[in-house]
């Protein structure tokens, strides 16, 4: 009996030693991979809006801006008696001097400096005049405006008679930016325009690129 127990104990011990040695020398198991999360702070993606342009091969007139070709009225036939004749006015504005009013160039202009603006033209002779033309630059940049003026004539340059009373006229680049005023034929050595209003300038300042006088 003792012997049996002895062998059992020996067997247990041997088995335990064997198992222990196995666990000691057993190759360790490969551990599971470890996942490490790294947080990278970034700029958020930009919100982009791209504005596209239409297919075009040249600059175009935008819709709504088309205009008919301007139609200017026919000028009277005959000589422009005012061309390059002596002129006189009151104050003028900036570089827009009186002589621009009859230099034959509609790109230059006279602008008065105070209402009433008087523009006197010496015809250098007496003529039986019956038509006056007041022009602005015909370019569209000279937008529509009204001007009010009276036309007077004189044979001596001092005593003037009204031939057309003060009237408001419409200037529009679509109609040549000019007005043609006819009146009863009258002897005149001087023609004088008295401007009292111009919707295109603030408070004061008549404007005329050319003033023409015809028989």
């Amino acid at each position: 009996m003792k012997k049996t127990i002895f062998y059992i104990l020996i067997a247990i011990i041997v088995i335990c030693i064997a198992v222990s040695l196995y666990t000691i020398f057993q190759a360790p198991a490969t551990p599971e991979p470890v996942t490490v999360t790294v947080t990278n702070t970034t700029e958020p993606a930009p919100e982009v809006t791209r504005v596209a342009t239409p297919d075009q091969t040249k600059a175009q007139i935008p819709a709504g801006f088309e205009k008919d070709e301007p139609v200017a009225p026919a000028l009277p036939s005959g000589e422009n008696l005012a061309l390059n004749k002596p002129v006189d006015s009151g104050l003028h504005t900036d570089v827009y001097v009186p002589k621009n009013v009859n230099d034959g160039k509609d790109l230059t202009y006279w602008e008065g400096g105070d209402f009433p603006n008087t523009m006197k033209i010496d015809l250098a002779g007496t003529y039986k005049v019956k038509t006056a033309v007041v022009m602005l630059n015909p370019a569209a940049i000279w937008g529509p405006r009204t001007q009010t003026f009276e036309i007077q004539v004189s044979t001596d340059g001092t005593n003037f008679t009204t031939v057309v009373p003060s009237t408001q006229y419409q200037f529009d680049p679509q109609t040549g930016n000019m007005v043609i005023v006819d009146f009863a034929a009258t002897d005149a050595a001087f023609v004088q325009f008295v401007f009292t209003q111009n919707s295109g300038t603030f408070e004061k300042g008549a404007q005329a690129a050319e003033i023409c006088i015809y028989e």
């Binding site: 104990l9 011990i13 930009p46 370019a139």
Partner: protein, 514 residues
């Protein structure tokens, strides 16, 4: 006795067996703490990167150019990796007046943004490789990286920025980084003239009372916008008014097609647009009252290409704007009634010809009684380049009184006056009462009560302090009460007239430099 020994052996064996059993159980059931002959291998670490956006996203609005426009061959630009169209802006690198000057081009681009954006320029139009790049205004403190032909930098604030390559003004790139647009006008509003993106030609556009002209980003309007005797008008948007189709106004048969011209008008607002290659002066106003002008960019190159030129105006403010001009950049004159309360605030100028901040020469061209120019302020002005005539100048060439003029917080990055045909008119500061070719009156005027404070000049020719001049005309037409304070030139604090290299004649009174 022998039996007792046997029992004792069994007891010992039993204890040993129990100990071995315990040890074995421990080894089996507690593998983490068990005795091991070999250390466990280190577990494999798998790194996983997760991008976490932080903050609000940058917002970018980019505008295609009209299909009619050829992109610059000198530069390409991306912002946040997005391509941005680069225009060739016409500029004039000559510094002597000519009716037919030689013109050049320089890259120019614009976009709108909010937040922080990375800008990348690839310059292909320079003969030499890029070794350095500087962003102006230098006070913005933006550092650029130049590498492999690219220049990269970060913008975090809307504004106008000029990038110079290899320390040269040649092909400097102007970048107009606008704020995002807000409250774009309704194109169906009858008071709104809405110009869509694209290339559009209108000979002239005459604004009427209460109208808004809106120029969409990506639009080019070829024509003039004029207002005469109107009120409550607005011009805004991100588009461009361009004068390239027309020869210079000094050419035979041409005339000044001024891109923006307000005459006798009131309550004006202009915001955000670009004025490019005018055939004459650029932004003109005459006898107008009340204007708020902001974020307007002007580049001119042709004769008489003045930037902002205000004659006989009241209550005008220009802020947050940019002018590169081939004539006076910022100029106030009297052509009619008196000028009063004109302010330029936070404006960058690059003046290829004539003066940067000028009053005159015409101070009474309208030949009015008691003509005056009063309360004119130039503040927070950065002069990127001034090549020709004076930087800060009052040229009283008529009989007006010029009074209460302030130049405050002025930085001149490159004070290179005297180039070309400037001759002796090469001053940093020039206050002068004298007749000139622009005089309209026989009598002379006066200059009184002028302050220059916080004037910094970063670079001059050969590090020499440029001359200045303060000249009255006679005992009755003096320059009086000029206070010049805190001037630094090439890093050196100026402490007196001699330091300033200033000529001051006897027809002056109470001129102080401290």
């Amino acid at each position: 006795m022998k039996q007792n020994n046997g029992i004792s052996q069994l007891i010992i064996l039993g204890i040993l067996a129990i100990a071995f059993i315990g040890f074995t159980v421990f080894q089996l059931l507690a593998p983490d703490k068990a005795i091991k002959a070999n250390a466990a291998p280190t577990p494999q670490v798998i790194e996983k990167t997760v991008d976490v956006p932080q903050g609000s996203p940058a917002k970018l609005t980019l505008y295609d150019a009209p299909k009619t426009v050829t992109p610059s061959a000198d530069a390409t630009l991306t912002v946040e990796g997005q391509p941005v169209f680069v225009y060739d802006a016409v500029v004039n690198n000559t510094h002597a007046f000519s009716k037919t000057p030689k013109l050049s081009s320089t890259p120019m681009a614009y976009f709108d943004f909010e937040g922080e954006v990375t800008v990348d320029i690839l310059m292909t139009g320079l003969a030499d490789p890029i070794t350095s790049a500087v962003i102006s205004p230098i006070s913005a403190g933006i550092q650029a990286e130049a590498k492999d032909g690219h220049v990269r930098f970060i913008l975090s604030k809307p504004g106008q920025y000029t990038v110079q390559f290899n320390g040269s003004p040649n092909k400097a790139m102007h970048i107009f980084a606008n704020p995002l647009e807000k409250d774009i006008p309704d194109k169906n509003d009858p008071n709104v003239i809405f110009i869509e993106p694209g290339d559009w030609e209108i000979e002239s556009l005459v604004l009427k009372d209460n109208q808004t002209l809106y120029l969409s980003g990506g639009s080019i309007l070829r024509g003039s916008v004029v207002s005469d005797n109107v009120k409550n008008v607005t011009i805004r948007g991100r588009g461009m008014i361009d004068g390239s189709l027309h020869e210079s106004w000094v050419s035979a048969g041409e005339y000044a097609r001024v891109p923006i011209d307000f005459r006798n008008s009131r309550n004006i607002k202009v915001e955000g647009i670009i004025i490019n290659n005018s055939n004459a002066w650029c932004f003109n106003s005459f006898q107008s009252d009340g204007a708020e002008i902001s974020n307007v960019k002007i580049i001119s190159a042709r004769p008489n290409g003045d930037g902002f030129t205000f004659q006989s105006c009241l209550n005008y403010t220009v802020k947050d704007s940019f002018v590169r001009s081939w004539d006076d950049s910022l100029v106030v004159k009297n052509y009619g009634m008196n000028s009063d309360k004109i302010t330029f605030d936070n404006v960058q100028v690059w003046t290829d010809l004539a003066q940067s901040c000028e009053i005159g020469y015409e101070t009474n061209k309208g030949q009015k009684s008691n003509s005056m120019i009063t309360n004119v302020t130039f503040k927070n002005i950065t002069v990127l380049y001034n090549f020709h005539k004076p930087v800060l100048s009052i040229h009283n060439s008529d009989d007006a009184l010029v009074q209460n003029v302030t130049y405050s917080n002025i930085v001149v990055e490159n004070a290179l006056m005297g180039r070309g045909d400037a001759g002796d008119n090469n001053q940093l500061i020039d206050f002068n009462i004298a007749a000139s070719g622009w005089s309209s009156t026989a009598n002379r005027g006066k200059i009184k009560d002028v302050v220059i404070e916080n004037l910094t000049v970063l670079k001059t020719d050969s590090d020499v302090t440029p001359p200045s001049r303060i000249y009255g005309y006679d005992e009755e037409h003096m320059v009086e009460n000029v206070a010049i304070k805190n001037v630094v030139i090439n890093g050196k604090k100026i402490t007196g007239n001699k330091d300033l290299n200033a000529k001051i004649n006897s027809y002056t009174a109470n001129i102080t430099v401290e």
